[in-house]
Symmetry: C2
Subunit: 123 residues, 2 copies
Amino acid sequence: MSDHATTVRRFWESTEARDWPALTALLSPDLVYETEQTRERVRGPGLLRLFQEFPGDWHVHLRRVVAGGDAASSIVDATLDGEPMVALTFFAFDATGLVTRIEEWWPEPYEPPPGRAHLTERF
Amino acid sequence: MSDHATTVRRFWESTEARDWPALTALLSPDLVYETEQTRERVRGPGLLRLFQEFPGDWHVHLRRVVAGGDAASSIVDATLDGEPMVALTFFAFDATGLVTRIEEWWPEPYEPPPGRAHLTERF
């Protein structure tokens, strides 16, 4: 497992554990976190406050990580007050291995478009 | 750039070019493609038919690829009849480098949740 994969694993484990010092140790002071769906941007330690202040009973569990070069991505299974959600997150790292950039998406279920049932199974 | 990154780049370039032989050459006959949001699964050459039959004027442009180990992921900027969309795609490969598994999400914009405007900028 690459160092970046380890960092992503620790990112989600320390977030789930609400271990803010452990999470902070992974992050560049210049961190930029963006959620393109809402066009929101959070800088540096603002991310910790976002997590700390996020309402409800939330949990995050890393399903998969892909890491290579100066980047990584993850699929996270989350729950918010028991409701399942999925996060897709892309990470970039500085030369020392700290996380400098996070781009995250929270896709929601939707109905299959018409006209392709002959090509698909449902699961 | 790893071989898997090259494969992902070719995947999107041949899809955009509607170069079905070039796309087919990248895919395992055992390919499984899943969109968890709609709970749809497509097997093997069904993916080509899905692309070929997809209605409207659609385009795909690779924004970023992350590749490492036996996996890769990509961010794609797409348009459908001129409307911008984003696809997040996770790829797995067999020992010969062919794509065996694709999991894809198409997240949509949503309004920022209340109560965090003091932590965020908008872009």
